[in-house]
Symmetry: C2
Subunit: 285 residues, 2 copies
């Protein structure tokens, strides 16, 4: 089977490189979502055994392949298909909070699931699609394209450091450092390390660190059990001893990370839908 709507993905990839927040890129993100949903509409589903308290998951099926786990209460075909025009013109942000949560989750996971069903063990294009989507969402709210490298000028050295997305909103505002991951697992320390480099090069507080993650679920393909892989104690240590992230937004917030808000150092882990109401606080002085 060919990759899902490979021609749309290729066009998106070219358009994103030219400008992540341009109308063409926005349109292709919408088109690829709709094409993925059409494919998923035809796929049977199977209930999974959720070991995550309070959350139910299913998988899409196609021949011998099963998609990553999908959260039942957050996946909504109709909502996205009927409101995709609002993604294009950016009025989707006015959806009620609970609909916005489902809208964003469904957009983010549809292409990933459709790719899973192609059975090619393709890990790169879902990750890249998710980066484009999140970069487009934040970029359009801030009104600027992100950069993916920063200059280091330091006495006798001059280096260019590759980074995750960085948004420069002018002297009036803080800059935003926006790493984007499908899941974090044991490599998440990189995020705090990059924040530490930015703090060191430019001064503490110049860049607000904002991590965006899809989910931490993992399914055992034999037992069909779904778990969330979380390392909350390590996150606390990183936040205390490496650098400080200002926000962590998830499309599917893991219970154990949500609880980090309540214990020192109070890492703020929220649903991405909450970003739109607090975006001014993110970049404020």
């Amino acid at each position: 089977m060919r990759a899902v709507a490979a021609h749309i993905y290729t066009a998106l990839s070219q358009s994103a490189r030219a400008g992540l927040i341009e109308e063409g890129t926005t349109g292709l993100l919408a088109d690829l979502t709709i094409a993925s949903l059409a494919l998923l509409r035809q796929a049977p589903t199977r209930d999974l055994i959720s070991l995550v308290p309070g959350k139910a998951y299913f998988g899409f099926l196609r021949e011998a392949h099963m998609s990553r786990p999908v959260r039942r209460d957050l996946f909504d075909f109709d909502l996205v298909e009927q409101n995709i025009g609002r993604f294009r013109d950016r009025t989707y942000t006015a959806l009620p909070e609970n609909e916005l949560q489902r809208f964003l989750y469904t957009m983010a996971i549809s292409y990933c699931c459709a790719t899973d069903l192609a059975g090619r063990d393709d890990r790169k294009t879902p990750a890249t699609f998710f980066e484009y989507l999140i970069g487009n969402i934040f970029g359009r709210e801030f009104g600027v394209n992100p950069r993916t490298q920063v200059e280091v000028l330091n006495l006798d050295m001059r280096a260019t450091l590759p980074t995750d997305f960085v948004f420069d909103l002018g002297q009036e505002h803080r800059r935003v450092h926006l790493p984007v991951k499908l899941s974090t697992r044991e490599r998440v320390v990189q995020v705090w390390a990059h924040q530490k480099v930015l703090d060191g090069v430019y001064g503490v507080g110049r860049f607000r660190g904002v991590l965006v993650v899809l989910t931490e679920t993992k399914v055992d393909k034999r037992s069909l059990e779904v778990i969330e892989i979380c390392l909350p104690e390590q996150w606390r240590v990183y936040q205390l001893f490496i650098a400080q992230l200002f926000r962590v937004y998830y499309l599917d917030v893991p219970n154990r990370y949500a609880a980090l808000r309540d214990v020192p150092p109070h890492i703020q882990v929220k649903y991405l839908s909450q970003f739109f109401g607090e975006k001014d606080a993110l970049i404020g002085q």
Copy 2:
């Protein structure tokens, strides 16, 4: 084809978990090396096209499979086969510097190459073998087994942090934080981040950070060209702005990392063979 001497690897794995520096573990590291060399003795080789100034590489072949690149001047069947007893009784460290360099390189890369020829795309067992070998070498020099986690006790929190090897040599000496990698690439920032955590939790200077790496070579399987993937400017930024590594030892030092000694912040990148002569400086006050 079955994995190389799978029964020896399994025994090594069990023995290493019981005690990395015990005689049994040392013997199994030697046995697995000799079994790997016997397999490689039967394999034809192919010269590779080295784009690395001053270094020639070849690959071992078996059916459609080719091993990772092997440095011609550092790989020495006879030296290791004839002196493997000196690994067991630890007199190998008295070999002349240039022989010690070849001895260590050949021991480190033989099992990796033999595994490559099995064609199972096995990335885990070569990495684990290399960790056992380096942990055994350092542990026997220091006379203690390493630990792989540290306790964090901090006001209202208590956490256990998984780490790379950590050697505790008593109050008279500095502790050693020893990350071990087959190659580093873009994930190397983790090493500085973990050092930063140890500096933060225990105080700067309490743990000496010592990174050990096999090589940074990469071969293009079509063109047969060998390159070294190095990010020296990023290393300088990490050393300046995250934490300070005391030494980086390679089995095959990349030219561009060796040059880091000569520019600020003067990261000390050396051959592993040089460790034995300066081990007291590593742990001294």
